[in-house]
Amino acid sequence: MAEDSTADGTEDTAMAQRQTPDAAAGTTAEPGGTRLGQGPGRLLLWFYGVFTVAALSRSIVQISTKFSDAPLAYLLSLAAGVVYAVITVALWRGGEQARKVALVSCSAELLGVIAVGVLTLADSSAFPDQTVWSDFGVGYVFLPLILPVMGLLWLRRAGRPESGTPEGAAPRP
């Protein structure tokens, strides 16, 4: 994935070159990448890291001890954990490719939370055991619903070349 040199890649480089010299100097290697896991992004990285550990360890315990009780719910927890892991790694690595991966994953996460939330309210028999995303993540103070929204907002802001830096973070030379 990192070695990808498709049309996307060339487009990114072209976009980077269109930036002002100052901005381009800081982000030559990976356009927009250095900022992805910094500032507010680092707080997101922290939350996603915690949720990766929580969701993955929870689903591994459930799958290994009582898989037949609620296979769908446990597999869903596992899938959620994998999505969180992908976003964590993407935020940590930075770069335009990672930003796109994170955008797709955050969108999938948001859709998943909403779909599972509606399903659990409409037909609770589909999920006999709780998952991270049951009832819109109420067991996790709605963070599963809030995180992807924050993530998408941040990824959108970090993607903009100039205005992406948080207030007062980078005094322009």
């Binding site: 910094q38 500032g39 507010p40 680092r42 707080l43 990285l45 922290w46 939350f47 890291g49 915690v50 550990v53 929580a54 360890s57 315990v61 001890t65 103070v141 973070a169």
Partner: protein
Amino acid sequence: MLDAVTLTVTVTALLLAAWCGLAAYRDEPTNDWHFIGMAVVTLAALVQLVVALVRLGHGDRPDHGVAVFVGYQIGAACTIPAAAFMSLAERSRWGSAIVAAGGVILAVLELRLHEIWGAGHG
């Protein structure tokens, strides 16, 4: 004993969260005093881990399984150190926010630990 330690960790974690939350609100990074605070909370979590292991060694069993209980204990002991390292890397208000979030997360873990251990045997 375990209940008392759990309560101590919860309260100190919430205090740390409030303190670092205030720093984040004031647009300050974490300072040396914050790190001393993190060390205190981590120490309390480690004491809790030892007490829990001693209780397990004496044959006491948590209501919801030993594996889950020990997993949560280890997670609780690692939460604040992990937040501390991330706030070292992030020298801005967001580093303080990370520790504040870590304190709240630890408090939630303590609540779960209390449930997993079971109210029956303090």
